[in-house]
């Protein structure tokens, strides 16, 4: 809900700034090339994000007088990226950028349970399996300073600044096991997953190349690298699961200048 509110707020801000730009032509700045620059740009991008989230952990427990363990390893895949935002130019070269990025992908989990033997020491049994398609969503509010290099019809924007991420990660939280006499084999039963949310702070840095068909409409290609560390307390008696969110993403989109 807060995520939507943030996004709506950003859009309202962008629209009001665009409106102001239209109503106050005297606020337009003159570029070195002599062209009149628009102060506000609305950007809408879409693209594919890379995966590369590999993380995992082991939790331990005591059963039948010995230590057992539960291992979880996750590997994240790529997904679709969608971004809304805007750039407000303070000077012809310097501005501020704000955007909201939505990314959803999935994680594959490999899990292994090692359970001590009820009758014998040092005869632990193990069972493992995998689960694919665990949901992963990663939305981020990127803010930053933008440095723009204007050429006729083409603009290069270099930007960077802080980010706040809103992640929701589906993790395997419980794997039931069973065995029957003589207890030499361990069978996996049901698997339980839960979703964990985090809001880590991080940074973003990137560049965009925009080609304008008209003073108002253009298309752009953007590359951004963002990063934040996510820590999840998914299992009792284990170290927290930690992974880096963000990554390098290329997107293509539309630029509207006002």
């Amino acid at each position: 809900m807060r995520r939507i509110a943030s996004f709506v707020g950003l859009m309202v801000l962008a629209m009001s700034m665009a409106s102001e730009a239209q109503q106050e032509p005297e606020a337009e700045t003159v570029t070195p090339s002599g062209k009149t620059a628009r102060r506000f740009q609305l950007l809408v991008n879409g693209g594919l994000g890379s995966g590369g989230r590999s993380f995992g952990g082991v939790s331990t427990f005591t059963e039948f007088l010995e230590q057992g363990s539960s291992r979880r390893d996750y590997d994240g895949g790529g997904g679709f990226v969608f971004e809304f935002g805007g750039i407000y130019s303070i000077t012809p070269e310097i501005g501020i950028i704000g955007s909201f990025e939505l990314f959803s992908g999935d994680n594959d989990a490999v899990f292994e349970e090692i359970v001590p033997h009820p009758l014998l020491f040092n005869h632990s049994r193990s069972a493992s399996s995998e689960l694919t398609g665990l949901s992963y969503s990663e939305n981020a509010l990127h803010l930053g300073v933008v440095y723009s290099i204007e050429q006729p019809s083409i603009t290069v924007d270099l930007f960077g600044g802080p980010s706040i991420f809103f992640t929701e990660t589906e993790l395997v939280t419980n794997v039931s096991t069973s065995s029957s006499y003589p207890f030499d084999e361990l069978a996996l039963g049901s698997t339980r997953t839960s979703k964990f949310s985090e809001r880590p702070f991080g940074f973003n840095i990137g560049a965009a190349l925009t080609y304008r068909f008209t003073p108002v409409v253009g298309v752009s290609v953007q590359g951004r690298f963002s990063r934040a560390s996510v820590t999840l307390e998914a299992q009792p008696d284990s170290d927290p699961l930690a992974f880096d969110t963000g990554g390098f993403r290329v997107s293509f989109g539309l630029r509207l200048s006002f």
Partner: protein, 528 residues
């Protein structure tokens, strides 16, 4: 809320007044019977309750002791909703009711008045249970609407289970307000039934135990067979009358860290032997039908010098002496000794070899063979204490070194390693080691050893190409099958030879290398 109980037996069984204040089952219909003659009337009332839906048949059990008897369990219902814990059991034989026992719940007048319309739905009840559970817990199994009898009155509740981190909670959620009425850990796993045992020689083992009345008892409820170990506490008189087979004599340990080596080893090694038979031969207990095993330890003080262990065929018990404390330690302290004695029980339920002369020697031999097989199954091979080897009884000696019998070289102990040098009936009379049962068994033991490890017999000079330790289990299977399927009480060595050859052909085909090895082994020790 009164819990009413009826206990009524006929047919020669005792009348058991469980609750002296219980006068009626249902005041309007049922009369508390203090006389066996009242059973039919009570049965009619139960029948009426069945017809009215106040009782419903839940299960039928066959009586394991008295053939032809059944026990029908009848669950109590109130307006179509099961009353949790309310149940009657009537014992029947040929349509006749022998007894009715159980508990039914109601108010002081024997009635129950609970609104069975649930204001809450099952999903809401689950949500309430989950809210009261740890973060990662989740509901499992069915959600059942029940009437829960509590001290303050009966309440309509949802009965469900929530699985958490290695626990399973039973929840009773008030079906009107969502309150948690009752919650308990319903995990009936082995977790609480494993104790730490320290054996005679200081090694740690897992004890399968039973929690009871603030202590732990040496009762194995993990294996499907059941093993009970009794500490006779030197009450030889009680033990000798088998009266020690009562709960009062069960070995106990308050903190579940068992340090009585005699108890630990007897209990654990019996379990190992059961496991060996199950894993290697698919046998379910000594009778192959799950018969429980009974161990007696601390029969007499060490000063009495009870240097023996034996299987008692009357009560199917294994009995272990404490040794003399000078030469011998507890007789349960050696895995091969325990496996040997337990195999006598297997023999009793199969070939039932007569414990005299050659058949008796065969009985001793198969016990020895299975004993070393169990050792090789559970212990690392090698020489030394608690190692799998080709000698018997080495672990019960306080000073390690002496042995009871040797498979590799029986002659080193003065035992025969060939049929031609057997202890003949003239020497080994019926009064002398039952005709040499512990002496001539060495001939069969040595044959088994040659079939596995290979070698040359000292007397015949014949060489046997053994199958090797890696295939020892095949020779074990041949002997197990021969001794449990083909031998009869009066079988002799020659019969054992034929039985093992036949088993080899059955298990591994006629003319197989294994059949050849078995033939070589018997030939080498002069058994034809």
């Amino acid at each position: 809320m009164t819990v009413r109980f009826v206990a009524l037996f006929t047919g020669g069984l005792a009348f058991l007044p469980f609750f002296s204040d219980a006068q009626t089952l249902r005041s309007a219909r049922t009369v508390w019977a203090s006389d066996v003659a009242d059973v039919p009337a009570l049965a009619r009332d139960v029948d009426l309750m069945l017809r009215s839906g106040e009782l419903e048949l839940a299960s039928i059990q066959r009586d394991g002791v008295f053939q032809g008897r059944t026990h029908e369990r009848l669950d109590q219902y109130h307006r179509g909703v099961r009353v949790f814990g309310g149940q009657l059991v009537w014992q029947k034989e040929a349509g006749r009711v022998l007894s009715i026992t159980g508990k039914l719940f109601g108010d002081d007048n024997g009635e129950m008045s609970v609104n069975t319309d649930a204001a809450l739905d099952a999903n809401a009840a689950v949500a309430h249970a989950l809210a009261a559970s740890e973060a990662n817990a989740f509901a499992v199994g069915p959600v059942e609407l029940v009437v829960l009898p509590m001290k303050e009155g009966a309440t309509l509740a949802y009965y469900l289970h929530v699985r958490g981190d290695r626990r399973l909670d039973a929840f009773f959620v008030d079906a009107s307000k969502g309150r948690i009425l009752l919650r308990y850990n319903d995990h009936r796993s082995q977790t609480g039934m494993i104790g730490l045992g320290v054996g005679t020689w200081g090694d740690q083992k897992k004890m399968t135990v039973q929690q009871a009345a603030g202590t732990h008892r040496a009762v194995d409820t993990v294996r499907p067979f059941g093993i009970r170990t009794y500490d006779v506490n030197f009450d030889a008189g009680t033990w000798n009358r088998y009266a020690a087979d009562t709960p009062a004599f069960l070995a106990t340990d308050a903190d579940n860290e068992w340090r009585d080596g005699a108890v630990v080893d007897a209990h654990v090694y019996a379990g190992y032997t059961y496991d060996y038979y199950f894993k290697q031969h698919g046998r379910r207990g000594v009778d192959d039908a799950g018969l429980a095993n009974i161990n007696f330890v601390h029969i007499a003080r060490q000063s009495a010098g009870f240097n023996n262990a034996f299987y008692d065929p009357v009560d199917n018990s294994l009995n272990y002496g404490d040794g003399d404390g000078i030469t011998f330690n507890f007789f349960s302290s050696s895995l091969d000794v325990v496996a040997h004695e337990l195999t006598h029980a297997v023999t009793q339920f199969t070939s039932d070899l007569i414990y005299l002369n050659e058949s008796g020697a065969l009985s001793e031999a198969i016990s020895d063979i299975m004993a070393v097989s169990v050792e090789f199954f559970f212990e690392p091979a090698g020489s030394g204490r608690q190692r799998a080897d080709w000698v018997l009884g080495e672990d019960i000696f306080i000073n390690f070194g002496p042995i009871f019998r040797s498979f590799r070289d029986p002659n080193a102990l003065g035992d025969p390693d060939h049929y031609d040098v057997r202890c003949a009936p003239q020497v080994c009379t019926e009064d002398f080691d039952n005709g040499g049962v512990h002496i001539n068994s060495s001939i069969v033991n040595h044959a088994f050893y040659l079939m596995v490890e290979g070698g040359t017999n000292r007397v015949s000079g014949m060489r046997v190409d053994g199958v090797g330790r890696a295939q020892m289990d095949r020779i074990e299977s041949i002997f197990y099958r021969a001794f449990t399927v083909y031998l009869v009480p009066s079988s002799n060595f020659s019969d054992a030879r034929e039985a093992t050859l036949r088993a080899a052909r059955e298990l591994f085909s006629a003319g197989s290398a294994l059949e050849q090895t078995v033939r070589q082994g018997w030939d080498a020790v002069g058994v034809h």
